[in-house]
Symmetry: C3
Subunit: 136 residues, 3 copies
């Protein structure tokens, strides 16, 4: 298998910036013809909940709206739209089986099309990918 | 050398979630037969201190106990136990030589079996590994 | 092209520790003869501003001065000096085109020698690199 064409991302934070980066990287890569796999774990799992609306962390939290407006201005879709686009582009998205219980998130709480995968399954995919990035 | 079998992790934060992820990934990979190398630097170095008891960051700090109990319920060992398991599984763990002085941590402060390594040494290992992840 | 010789870093946080790690890794790798590419995005972009003076995050913010003094003691240059060294060593540094507008940073605000690059351009470089690390 040509691993140069595969991208594996881990997302363990649920903040606005990490959420947007995971989608911008995933969707850009998918548009370039890469096979993309995104593994959500710990606080990142919250992003997969129906209607998720991520905020910036800490003291930046109140500025999330400003960021969202600036993004709209330069033509960057909000997180929900990017997640839908990711599914259309065939991006593979996974919820970490081990931390789902820990975070109190069930399969029914999540948007459709998310697979549940363990750490071993993800490591198998990562070992077969050319680019691997752990986005916080 | 077959780099498909090597995993290199960097851990620069000392929070509960990053601590657990580094161990869960390392021990899963080692159980799968991979050769695993974990490089602790900056705030991650605190995790190598004897009796380290990591907490969640910021406003989540007070919820660390809840997380720990939920983990025990789904059969995930606490950080100390996972660290001991990592050593048994042959996971290679390193303290960053450059930032040890910066963080005020000496070799004697740390649990046994930790090697001291510089950034160049780690980059050599990473360049020879199939999967590299920087866990915060 | 020999991808074993290429290192690709992403920096999305502007804190003191992430700033220092990006430079210490980049400059160590460049000194080892590796070809190095560092992509600054989101809050990481602030590090490229003229006179940037990064601080530790949250409750550690006030301790930045202590860290800086300890670094000087063990012979680690401050961020500005390391950035200049990186340029001398031929480290390639990029500002993320997409998030520059979002963060309100213009090319003129940044130190000299920074290229502007999109996510697709960075992914191309990363796919051709042996080591890729997302430093927060």
């Amino acid at each position: 298998m040509d691993d140069a064409k595969k991208l594996a991302l881990v997302v363990s934070e649920g903040t606005f910036d990490k959420a947007m980066m995971s989608m911008m990287m995933a969707n850009t890569a998918a548009s370039m013809g890469m096979e993309v796999h995104v593994f959500y774990t710990f606080f990142g799992l919250g992003l997969l909940k129906k209607g998720a609306n991520p905020k910036l962390a800490g003291m930046y939290r109140l500025f999330t709206g400003v960021f969202r407006k600036r993004m709209a201005k330069v033509g960057i879709d909000d997180f929900g739209s990017q997640l839908r686009l990711a599914k259309e582009l065939g991006v593979n998205m996974y919820a970490c089986a081990t931390t789902m219980g820990l975070m109190g998130i069930k399969k029914d709480d999540m948007v459709e099309g998310i697979k549940v995968l363990g750490a071993a399954g993800f490591l198998d995919i990562a070992a077969d990918s050319k680019v691997q990035l752990f986005i916080g």
